[in-house]
């Protein structure tokens, strides 16, 4: 146990509160600004206190902007990303840990490479592949037609799914699962798939939930790839849409209350998710079974 003393406790609490303030202040400003009219904000700058126009501004987000449909896009893409990563990394981590692969370490190193090379720094080749996913087959001389996934939900999600973080997390978790469980299942007559389904999946529920939340948030807040891979406003994600609100103002002055109302609305879904699944998140990060 770490020794606790009252004075030390107070200092820690002080630092904690400072940190909370530091994080919450921008959110507070966004929310407060969203509750004023555009004219007010033009006159007196960003607001620190509530005003009467919050509902009106939020309604304008739904009537005057593409944010609603873009939030739907975000939801689809983030769900596809999170579910895809969970399924893919569950299978890959299972193979790495429980199957005796001859070059397992090499496979793992390759998967680990995707963590070191995120989509952000390989946007151009990724775009090239997505604009015609049949290109590798065409290069082999096979008669295939061109299929482009650019500007589709799948195209927005796929590059994020092919990412090693989930595999790495689940691999670390699987290594804490006693090997004798796998042997016991084999003695009971369960094959690899039954063991995976009947034993490993129920045990992995907290780890998978944590992975799901993390990857959903990642999918929701992704900016660069959705910006590049979506060419129409109706296929853009909410985060890209938010950025566009600031720059698409033509000659008009930027409508700060509308932007802040939209930003607050868009944050609502990930915030709710964190609030609901917080305990899984904490437990999954610790990655240990009580």
């Amino acid at each position: 146990m770490i020794e606790t003393r009252t004075s030390f406790d107070r200092i820690c609490m002080g630092i904690l509160w400072l940190g909370i303030l530091f994080i919450l202040a921008p959110l507070w400003i966004a929310l407060m600004t969203a509750s004023h009219s555009a004219v007010d904000v033009m006159r007196s700058g960003l607001a620190w206190y509530p005003g009467p126009h919050l509902v009106e501004n939020v309604i304008r987000v739904f009537t005057d902007t593409r944010i609603p449909v873009q939030m739907f896009n975000s939801l689809v893409v983030a769900l596809m990303t999170a579910v895809g990563i969970c399924i893919l990394s569950f299978c890959t981590a299972f193979a790495l840990v429980f199957l005796n692969l001859r070059f397992g370490w090499l496979v793992f190193a390759t998967i680990f490479g995707t963590i070191l090379l995120p989509v952000d720094i390989r946007v151009v080749p990724t775009y090239q592949v997505m604009s015609n996913i049949m290109e590798p087959f065409a290069a082999l001389g096979l008669p295939v037609s061109q299929i482009s996934l650019v500007n589709t939900h799948i195209g927005l999600a796929l590059p994020a799914i092919a990412h090693g973080t989930g595999t790495f997390m689940l691999r670390q978790f699987f290594r804490t699962v006693p090997m004798d469980l796998a042997r016991a299942a084999r003695m009971d007559g369960a094959g690899a798939l039954r063991f995976m389904w009947d034993v490993l999946l129920p045990l992995s529920r907290p780890a998978l939930a944590a992975l799901f939340v993390l990857m959903f948030l990642g999918g929701w807040t992704n900016y660069l790839w959705p910006l590049v891979a979506s060419s129409t406003a109706d296929m853009q994600t909410a985060v890209v849409g938010l950025a566009r609100l600031a720059t698409d103002g033509d000659s008009r002055a930027p409508d700060f209350p509308l932007m802040m109302a939209a930003a607050s609305t868009v944050s609502l879904i990930p915030l709710t998710l964190i609030a609901v699944l917080q305990r899984f998140l904490v437990r999954g990060m610790a990655l240990t079974e009580k």
């Binding site: 006693p178 004798d180 016991a184 084999r186 003695m187 009971d188 007559g189 369960a190 039954r194």
Partner: protein, 365 residues
């Protein structure tokens, strides 16, 4: 009719088969020497065999090969009349109890036990009957809806055994199942296991590095050293006539004293001052168990240290040659020196080079 009903289901089923192991060998990839070079043995039907050896002697590998959890590339394993070395674990008719229980943490006791029956698509009514029967036998009936985390160590151990015997296996394998229990529980569970074995009658193979488990549970003990069988005999025989210095030094607490001696002109000079006749001249290892050394007469030896164990004490002496000799004595003795003598019929003789017993060379008078 009522008589047959009273017999436990598991016991009413088939009794064990014998196990023939012929020319079994195994080398792990990348290893210089084989874990098991060449092993042949015959385990009789219904027999309780304990495989005993230090860590790394190949005993777990041997058990895993019997179970089918590890491939047996060379040699044959025959259960009864069936050659099983190429079969999957589920097709061998054997079950296993693991060291750390290896119960499925998310399943209830009942589910843990009937999981294998579900996989084998046994009808529900029969499954339930068998679970109830095994639970009654192992006194788990009140715990069927609990999860492993809600059970004590001993109860978990019984569930693990229940999971193994519910399939009525012909061969029961135990991978150091008692090593995780505390000393008191280990004693109790050991006795329960012995009783259970008598009731079930399956051929049992039990791997351990604990010699007390081996001595108390086994019909026969197989002592493994570097993948080779040093001795395969009933516990009493292993104690009375160890086949090699390895066995002599491994079994018994404290183990047998081994002293380097030389036979010249047909006689060996004993450290207690006496001599004994020997049919061959050369270097030997003389063995004598600490509990067989007689106190109060013979040569005087200096006491190095005493260990008081309550029921008796173990005293380490220095022989005139400077070797260490352990003696068990009544508790509470004092003094810097002791007189000891070696009864002739308690002496063992081993070849100095091969380590094998050459008891027949001694001429006892």
């Amino acid at each position: 009719m009522t008589l047959t009903l009273e017999r436990p289901v598991a016991a009413a089923a088939k009794t064990g088969t014998d196990i023939r192991i012929e020319g079994l060998a195994k080398t792990y990839p990348g290893a210089d020497s084989p874990v098991i070079p060449n092993l042949t043995a015959h385990l009789r039907a219904g027999e309780f065999t304990v495989i005993l050896g230090p860590s790394g002697c190949g005993k777990s590998t041997l058990l895993n090969m019997l179970a089918g959890l590890e491939a047996a590339p060379t040699g044959r394993i025959v259960f009864g009349t069936r050659e099983v070395q190429a079969l999957a674990p589920r097709d061998r008719g054997c079950a296993m109890v693991f060291q750390n229980y290896a119960l499925y943490p998310h399943m209830t006791v009942a589910r843990n036990m009937d999981y294998s029956l579900r996989i084998a698509k046994v009808p529900r009514a029969e499954r339930e009957a068998r679970v109830a029967e095994v639970a009654r036998m192992l006194e788990l009936s009140a715990l069927l809806d609990r999860r492993p985390s809600q059970l004590s160590g001993g109860q978990r151990q019984r569930v693990a055994i229940g999971r193994a015997i519910i399939r009525e296996p012909q061969v029961l394998l135990f991978d150091e199942p008692l090593s995780n229990l505390d000393a008191r529980l280990r004693n109790e569970t050991r006795m329960e296991l012995a009783q259970l074995h008598r009731r079930i009658g399956a051929t049992s193979v039990f791997v351990t590095h604990d010699q007390v488990e081996a001595m108390t549970l086994a019909d026969r003990v197989m002592i493994l050293n570097k993948g080779r069988i040093e001795q395969f005999a009933p516990p009493s025989e292993i104690y009375a006539a160890p086949a090699s210095t390895f066995v002599a030094g491994f079994l018994g607490s404290p183990p047998m004293n081994l002293l380097a001696v030389e036979s010249r002109n047909g006689r060996i000079r004993l450290p207690d001052g006496g001599t004994i006749g020997c049919r061959r001249d050369g270097m030997f290892q003389l063995g004598i168990r600490p509990e067989h050394i007689r106190l109060g007469a013979g040569a005087e030896m200096r006491v190095q240290f005493r260990e008081e164990l309550g029921s008796h004490s173990v005293i380490a002496l220095t022989t005139p040659d400077g070797a260490r000799l352990r003696v068990t004595a009544p508790p509470g003795g004092t003094g810097d020196a002791l007189r000891v003598s070696f009864p002739q019929d308690a002496l063992h003789l081993f070849d100095a080079e091969t380590g094998l017993a050459v008891r027949e060379l001694l001429i006892r008078t």
